[in-house]
Amino acid sequence: MSRLPRSLAVVLTLSVVLLALYPVFGQVVFPNKHAFLMQKLTGIMIMAVMAMSLDLLVGVAGLVSLGHAAFFGLGGYMLAMLSPEYAAANLWLVLPATLIAVAFAAAIVGYLSIRTSGIYFIMVTLAFGQMGFYFFNDSKFAGGSDGAYIMVKPAVEILGVSVLNLGDKRTLYYVGFGTLVGVYLLLRVLLASPFGRVVSAIGVNENRVRGLGFDPVVYKLVAFTIGGTIAGLAGFLAAIQYGFVNPATLSWHHSGEALVMVILGGMGTLFGPAIGAFVFELARMGFEAMTDHWLLPMGAMIIAIVLVLPKGIGGFLLQVFSARSKVEDGQ
């Protein structure tokens, strides 16, 4: 991934700072809606993490998955299953355990699906995703179709002293924010690494990469596993936020929404899918507030964006800002 145009980097940084400061000024700007908006933004940031993790597969490695939500959901279910019923789980134990379990699941699903490609890959991932959905939907031990509850949020303690109260909305907001920024930076580092370069190249022309001496299957599998694990992290946080997991979080509808966020935001740009998550969720919120028939403007908006902005919002921003920086450079 090439570096972002400087002016775009500035704009994005400013947006992130604004997001970071929201809990401070939100009370003043939206006195009535503040608590709700903070909660909503927390949820959106978690979805943005999910969208970015999917972008690693779809936009970078060219692996269009329609089963990504399975890992998101699994992350949440792991927390629900590992939490004692009426006591707090220890985050330092449940988080790594969750991530390992999700990574394991992603590696198996990836190993089986990566032998197919194109539309077949989409469908195989869909099949595995739906299997995951039905596994939790039909099984008794995790609440079946009614879902399961995490009655007490995990404790974050260092040497027996609580350092973070995940029950506090503002704390959770910053946990979500930190995860968003952290995952973005992590993925940037990853994409700049030798591994990331190979994966990016696979997304462009897999056969050529093979000809150069790399085995694409292995790289795709590792990328799939990393993406799935990050989605699991997002699902883990989402489960903490509402103390609730439901099979619907694994279903293809949820995968589809994440995919829409990625395409809408601009595949392969990483920041784009995060923006896509914000646009998608905020637009839905806005349209819902405006009209009962909110699906109509929502559908129209998606169609308009796909017709007008072929590379998504992120691609559009890149285009605008790189044109501008050329002007600035006197070119």
Binding site: A192, S193, P194, F195, V198, R210, G211, L212, D215
Partner: protein, 255 residues
């Protein structure tokens, strides 16, 4: 180096059939170190299939391939490439969104023991960078280092294609129609480059342009319908009546 000519790459009875159609039929080749070996033949003669077999892109139906005496039959493409058999493609096959340097750097990166490295930026591997720059210089694109590949002229992209192969640090270069679709000027430049390369590498060249072939290659093999019609030093084959009848005449007309 003197003495016995050393065979780098060899095929024995190499055969590939698709369904009922035999594309390559029991091909026996010996590619000698630092020799430029051209394979010519009419369209559909099985040249490209042969290249794909040689570089592991297709598994053969029968026969074997030996690299420095070692069995590599059925090795996948990435393994063959890492052993030192680099190839270029008939259709331009560079990464258009990457810069020239990045194209070569990625190719050079294949020489790292493993690319499963996740944290240190790829651009900070000094030896990889040096190798990429060497390859760029060799293929004549040193001045184009930071150009985005997709924005360059067709001829330059073909050059870059060769540069990428060079960056993988190969011993054998398998070039599939490097001159295809090039204008006269571009062609001349490329022929010059190939002549240069012929001094350093074992060259296996698939090409239609006879003038280029005669000026570069030392050994010539003519393939027709999947089988070897004739093989030997360029001058001899060039004079061979059978070859002239079977291929060169038609080929010249068709060209």
């Amino acid at each position: 180096m003197t003495g016995e000519p050393k065979v780098v790459l060899e095929t024995r009875g190499l055969t590939k059939s698709f369904g009922g159609l035999v594309a390559v039929n029991s091909a026996n080749y010996r590619f000698v170190e630092r020799q430029a070996h051209a394979i010519i033949g009419p369209n559909g003669a099985g040249k490209s299939t042969f290249v794909n077999l040689l570089t592991g892109h297709f598994p053969p139906t029968g026969g074997e391939i030996l690299f420095k005496g070692q069995q590599i039959t059925g090795f996948p493409a990435h393994k063959v490439s890492r052993l030192g058999v680099g190839r270029s493609y008939q259709k331009t096959n560079v990464f258009p969104v990457f810069s020239c340097f990045e194209n070569c750097r990625l190719a050079a990166q294949a020489q790292l023991p493993s690319s499963m490295r996740f944290l240190r930026p790829a651009g900070r591997y000094k030896e990889v960078n040096e190798q990429a720059d060497r390859a760029l210089a060799l293929c004549g694109l040193g001045s184009r280092r930071d150009r985005v590949a997709g924005t360059m002229s067709y001829g330059e992209q073909r050059q870059l294609e060769i540069g990428m192969v060079l960056a993988t640090n190969p011993e054998v270069l398998v070039l599939d129609e490097p001159l295809a679709g090039m204008g006269k000027e571009e062609s001349e430049k490329m022929v010059g480059l190939l002549k240069d390369l012929a001094r350093h590498f074992t060259l296996i060249l698939i090409e239609h342009d006879m003038d280029a072939v005669f000026s570069i290659a030392e050994v010539l093999t003519v393939m027709v319908n999947g089988t070897v019609l004739e093989s030997g030093p360029v001058e001899i084959i060039r004079a061979s009546k059978a070859v002239q009848d079977a291929y060169l005449g038609d080929g010249a007309e068709a060209y």
